[in-house]
């Protein structure tokens, strides 16, 4: 078997995983921009998206419906989480809020375990499981779905931030919350919106990947951590950086797994993260603070 085909195969696998990391990284970025906190419950949103979509699918076997239902459920969870756990905090220093999100993550995971149990669940692929051949390398239709929908989501998100009034208002809040308030933008509303948006992104990522990976109550933790690494790698708060970070991380993992040894998969991802943090702490595309 030639090396080139193998490399292509690693690349496909890496890009698919990377696209999911990118979606999660974007979620981290949006909340960071609005609040300067890291929402460590982001990974759990991925898990909730995946599992609730599966539950919807069992109620009524329609994938579009399951997708919409899953995303909608998680948006509600994201909004409720912000309203009940974060907003009532009397002295909202970033550290307090970050620790609350860690607690929230543990709580959400625990509740998911009680509701769905410790079993793994699967969701059928969006369009069949017959692999497509590119030379000797293969790609699943689901991989294309992941890549395509991720690209679409990123484009829509970019357009939202650049072209719509609400998007511009959110960016204004990110740059300078006080100035934004002076011109009549309610920062509280924007924070709420950012939690809804990032929950939706996480849920979409979860539903896209679950036909490939199966869903379990504890799938979110590692994905959240990888997404966080991707966000840091690309530059926290930069959406292009998040996407780049995610894809780089995914490909690096897959190459490490294929070319060096499968035992080093996670190690390589976090090693790259450390190197970037040493050499370029603001991330690849992050602006200087």
């Amino acid at each position: 078997m030639n090396v080139l085909a193998d490399l292509l195969q690693y690349l496909f696998s890496g890009l698919t995983n990377g696209a999911i990391f990118a979606l999660i990284a974007l979620g981290f970025g949006i909340i960071y921009n609005a609040t300067t906190i890291i929402n460590f419950a982001q990974g759990e949103m991925v898990m909730l998206g995946a599992l609730s979509a599966i539950s919807f699918y069992h109620l009524k076997p329609s994938l579009p419906l399951a997708f919409v239902g899953g995303v909608a459920t998680v948006i509600v969870v994201g909004l409720v989480f912000e309203r009940l756990a974060l907003r009532p905090v009397r002295e909202p220093t970033p550290l307090t809020l970050i620790i609350i999100t860690v607690g929230g993550a543990v709580l959400i995971k625990g509740l998911a375990m009680l509701y769905w149990g410790k079993e793994a669940y699967s969701l059928p692929s969006f369009s069949g499981e017959a692999p497509l051949y590119l030379g000797t390398a293969t790609i699943l239709p689901q991989n294309l779905w992941v890549l395509g929908l991720t690209a679409l989501l990123v484009a829509v998100l970019e357009a939202f931030f650049r072209l719509t009034l609400v998007g511009k208002a959110m960016r204004a809040c990110a740059y300078n919350a006080r100035a934004a308030r002076l011109v009549g933008i309610p920062p509280g509303r924007m924070v709420q919106l950012s939690f809804g948006l990032s929950a939706a992104l996480g849920a979409a990522g979860g539903i896209l990947i679950v036909p490939l990976t199966m869903g379990m109550y504890d799938m979110g933790t590692m994905l959240g951590l990888k997404g966080f690494s991707a966000a840091i790698l690309g530059g926290l708060g930069s959406s292009l950086g998040g996407v780049l970070g995610g894809l780089l991380l995914g490909v690096a993992e897959s190459l490490a797994c294929g070319l060096i040894s499968s035992g080093y998969r996670d190690a390589v991802a976090f090693f790259i993260l450390l190197v970037v943090l040493f050499l370029r702490p603001q991330g690849l595309l992050g602006g200087r603070e």
Partner: protein, 386 residues
């Protein structure tokens, strides 16, 4: 004030202990205590949970029939959460405080290895539900330790026998990086020369990994004629899916860790054609009526279904066999621990859920590779291969 509280406390303690004594003397016969240590919660709860439930079910059943030799039974089960240190403390508690006659469990090899010095020193019979071969061998150093779970070695022998028969000698292995996978990898390596099998690739994956295509791509580049995957949980099903994705058509052999209905469900279409060794409980409905294990498996499955409305698992089966073996020994020789040990060692032709046990002073497991049957998944159902 302080003195008053203290005296009140003292009084209530006295009252409480009086109550306890009264309770104890009220029941003329003190219950016989059987101890259990299982990994009921945590990562390995899929093992410990059915084991605990099985033991509780059997004790309740036994008490409803008047107990063991006319004496009521009591089961004390501790949860070690898969932690060897906790298991050791709990074994000590079972021996010192609860005065357990014998102990069933633990669920895992590391926890079993941690408690066997304690139980052996106290001369309390231990029947482990874990797979590791080191738990009962060498048997002359493990006088007081028995086990009912099949060892990995038996599953490996069974797989290699099958591969040999079908003329496959170049194999790639893909094992999970947990105790189960590491032990499997050791045995796969150790037994390969005996069956003339050459391991052309040895890959590893993490328990929570969700994409094994890189490892399988590597395997695709070798001369492997079959892949053996050693893992538990959803990962083996992912391996099956990833192989289909890569267009890898060589046979996939799974370990007994994947032998469950759940695996078929998760693997979906990708499950078709997969071969694996399975304990007979999983496929008892396919056995002929002449197989002595069929009736035993059926009885256990029915009882478990009736009580917990979930199908019985092989893991619970280990506890079921241990319980039946132990109570049979007590029926025969009474409550003397040394005599019970002797009776356990003398267990012959004992038909259990996990196999037919023939214990001896040299073998405290008593099973042979025939405890496993090779099965193949066809159209979402298990089919017997031999």
């Amino acid at each position: 004030m302080k003195a008053k509280i203290v005296s009140r406390l003292f009084l209530s303690v006295v009252a409480l202990s009086l109550l306890i004594f009264a309770g104890a003397s009220a029941s003329a016969k003190e219950p016989l205590v059987i101890g259990g240590v299982f990994s009921v919660t945590g990562t390995h709860s899929y093992l410990g949970d059915p084991e605990k439930k099985t033991l509780e079910m059997m004790v309740a059943e036994s008490n409803a029939k008047g107990g063991l030799k006319g004496q009521p039974l009591k089961v004390v089960i501790y949860d070690d959460e898969g932690d060897p240190t906790k298991a050791r403390l709990q074994a000590e508690k079972l021996i010192q405080k609860d005065k357990a006659l014998a102990i069933i469990g633990p669920s895992l090899t590391p926890t079993s290895m941690a408690i066997l010095p304690v139980t052996s020193k106290a001369k309390v019979p231990l029947i482990s539900c874990a797979a590791g071969i080191g738990i009962t061998s060498p048997a002359h150093e493990r006088q007081w330790v028995f086990k009912t779970a099949q060892t990995d070695q038996m599953a490996v022998s069974r797989i290699y026998q099958y591969l040999q028969k079908t003329g496959i000698n170049k194999v790639a292995i893909l094992t999970v990086a947990t105790g189960f996978g590491i032990s499997g990898k050791e045995q796969l390596n150790a037994l390969a020369p005996k069956y003339g099998i050459q391991l052309v690739a040895q890959e590893v994956f993490g328990e929570k990994d969700t994409d094994m295509t890189p490892q399988l791509t590597k395997i695709r580049g070798t001369a492997a004629q079959a892949v053996i995957c050693w893992g538990t949980g959803p990962a083996p099903a992912l391996v099956a899916k990833n192989m289909k994705q890569l267009g890898l058509t060589i046979p996939l052999v799974q370990s007994h860790g994947a032998a469950s209905k759940k695996f078929i469900e998760l693997a979906g279409e990708a499950g078709d054609g997969i071969i694996m060794p399975a304990g007979k409980l999983v496929i008892y409905k396919l056995l002929t009526d002449t197989d002595p294990q069929k009736a035993v498996c059926q009885e256990y499955d029915k009882k478990y279904q009736a009580k917990y409305s979930a199908p019985a698992s092989s893991f619970g089966g280990y506890a079921y066999d241990a319980w039946r073996m132990l109570t049979q020994a007590v029926e025969k020789v009474g409550k003397d621990r040394a005599k019970i040990r002797g009776a356990l060692e003398g267990t012959k032709n004992f038909v259990g859920v996990s196999g037919i046990f023939n214990m001896s002073p040299d073998d405290h497991n008593g099973l042979s590779p025939e405890a496993f049957v090779m099965v193949k998944i066809e159209k979402g159902e298990f089919k017997l291969l031999d």
